[in-house]
């Protein structure tokens, strides 16, 4: 028998999971408390759709603002630290040592300072996303072929021209990778923060409903978050491949021997 196409297998696995989600609770193999059936979860999600929608909006708002911090600062500082040898030698080891600290322990500080509203989430998720984006950008900046600058200089490019016509186009793939990473991390950061201490947002709904043991509503919130993060990932990937056609072609040659993402660059989600 010919082996089925891997993509088809993935869809089958997904379908199987969904079916199990529906069937297993109904047969009583797992109590409804642990795992409400898929249909129940979706029903509840539909009934309370206004609540969930409002919560999603809050979450998205927080994600957007913290992305500004994480990606904006992260890419800028990452480019500077990665590009300028002096800064790099001085600061990069410091930053990558700081990365070892679980940022989540700072969250109570932010709630003490900013309250349990959106500001503390934005501050926390912003910092949570900042370090990996900065480190990733710093690493990516260094992959720009120095020969490009030599060629540009030999063609008489002035310094501003070198920056705008060579360095910026050459660093686009790195920037896009940073945006994708930053978005994923800020979503995680915001969700964790909302689950811990909050008064609004989709993570808050998870905690709220858990404490009143309303499992279907808990899982409805979980489902919403799943959809959000997967949607973001797909969107980011689609944008990235559209923008950076030439780089993905170059990368394709490397993928036969190694993964697309190197281990050394911190991947999202401890949380």
């Amino acid at each position: 028998m010919r082996r089925p196409d891997p993509a088809a297998v993935r869809w089958m696995i997904l379908a199987a999971l969904l079916v199990l989600w529906e069937v297993v609770p109904l047969t009583g193999a797992l109590p409804e408390l642990f795992l409400p059936s898929l249909s129940k979860t979706l029903t509840v999600l539909y009934i309370d759709r206004h609540i969930y929608f409002a919560a999603l909006l809050v979450t998205l708002y927080e994600v957007a603002l913290s992305m500004l911090i994480a990606c904006g600062l992260g890419i800028l500082i990452g480019a500077l630290v990665g590009g300028l040898a002096m800064l790099r030698e001085l600061l990069l080891p410091v930053f990558s040592s700081l990365y070892a600290v679980p940022i989540v322990i700072l969250y109570p500080v932010f709630t003490a300072w900013f309250g349990i509203g959106s500001s503390s989430k934005i501050a926390f998720a912003g910092i949570y996303g900042f370090f990996p984006v900065m480190l990733s950008t710093a690493a990516g900046i260094r992959t720009i072929d120095p020969q490009f600058l030599l060629a540009a200089r030999s063609m008489g490019a002035t310094l501003p021209q070198q920056i705008t016509r060579v360095i910026i186009p050459a660093s686009l793939p790195t920037v896009f990778a940073g945006l994708r990473l930053g978005g994923a991390l800020t979503i995680i950061g915001v969700v964790v923060a909302e689950m811990l201490t909050a008064s609004a947002g989709i993570g808050y709904l998870v905690t709220l409903n858990r404490t009143i043991l309303d499992s279907p509503r808990v899982f409805a919130a979980i489902l919403a978050i799943l959809v959000l993060s997967i949607a973001y990932y797909m969107l980011a990937r689609a944008l990235e491949s559209r923008m950076v056609v030439w780089q993905s072609a170059g990368r394709r040659q490397q993928q036969s021997s190694s993964r697309g993402e190197p281990v050394a660059v911190p991947t999202p989600a401890a949380a």
Binding site: A151, M155, A157, V166, W246, G250
Partner: protein, 268 residues
């Protein structure tokens, strides 16, 4: 192509040197004091000549080329290109081709060729016209809209050459441009280069490791010693033009190669 070498200009300056180097030396600061890289280099390249520089690794030939291009400044001595010094790169006087084509992967072939013109704000139509002309000159018609990752190594180098020629500089400097290519492609590219050169009659200074390539391409071969680099021999290559592959099998060719090799061996 109206921007090709001006015939009247050529006549007026016939016999004048395109490149003159006088007493050039270069030392740089190493870990244990100053290191001499080049010592007392003097040479003169007449217009329209194809000069090849050969030498062992590390002898400083690339440094010399960088100085001729204005990308680096020597510590001592003078360089004149068409009568003017080279304090910084001047792509209208000197085109530089490196070992790595360094085409910008985010630009198409034509955009890559046009790049030097776009730095100077040349009009779009003018840029297109000249880059198309260069594309034809290097034999890559029809590949204008391709991206570098779609081209082979030899094709990339052709684009690099086209880019170096697009501003019609009278002088072309080439630093081992074919070193990264396989031997068969090298031979083809060498032949192509000679065709382009005979059409445009630029002054060419070409660096290579390959003795065969040197004799095949050159009017004159300059042999450099190991570090610190100095010119130890000038060899006139009196083979007729246009050069053919068959010449490589002749006695004359063999003797010229041997002479270069002996010179290099002595210094290594």
């Amino acid at each position: 192509m109206q921007h090709l070498a001006n015939v009247s200009q050529l006549r007026a300056q016939a016999g004048e040197a395109a490149i003159e180097v006088e007493g050039l030396s270069h030392t740089y600061a190493g870990a244990n004091g100053s290191v001499p890289a080049l010592v007392d280099i003097s040479l003169s390249v007449r217009k329209g000549r194809f000069v090849v520089i050969v030498g062992p690794s590390g002898c400083g030939k690339t440094s010399l080329l960088m100085m001729l291009a204005g990308l680096r400044q020597q510590t001592d001595g003078a360089i004149l290109c068409h009568g003017q010094p080279m304090p910084k790169p001047d792509p209208e006087r000197v085109g530089v081709i490196f070992q790595e084509a360094s085409l910008f992967p985010w630009l198409t072939t034509l955009d890559n060729i046009e790049f030097p013109l776009s730095l100077r704000g040349t009009s779009r139509e003018e840029r297109r016209r000249r880059s198309q002309a260069m594309l034809s000159l290097v034999g890559l018609e029809g590949f204008g809209e391709r991206y570098p990752h779609e081209l082979s190594g030899g094709m990339k180098q052709r684009v690099s050459i086209a880019r170096g020629l697009v501003q019609d500089p009278p002088v072309l400097l080439m630093d081992e441009p074919f070193a990264a290519l396989d031997e068969q492609t090298r031979m083809t590219m060498g032949h192509e280069l000679l065709r382009i050169w005979s059409t445009t009659r630029k002054t060419v200074v070409f660096i290579t490791h390959s003795l065969t390539e040197a004799v095949y391409l050159a009017d004159e071969v300059l042999v450099m010693s190991a570090r610190p680099g100095r010119i130890i021999d000038h060899i006139e290559v009196e083979l007729p033009r246009p050069r053919t592959y068959e010449m490589m099998a002749t006695d004359v060719f063999g003797r010229l190669r041997d002479r270069i090799w002996q010179q290099i061996r002595k210094t290594a």
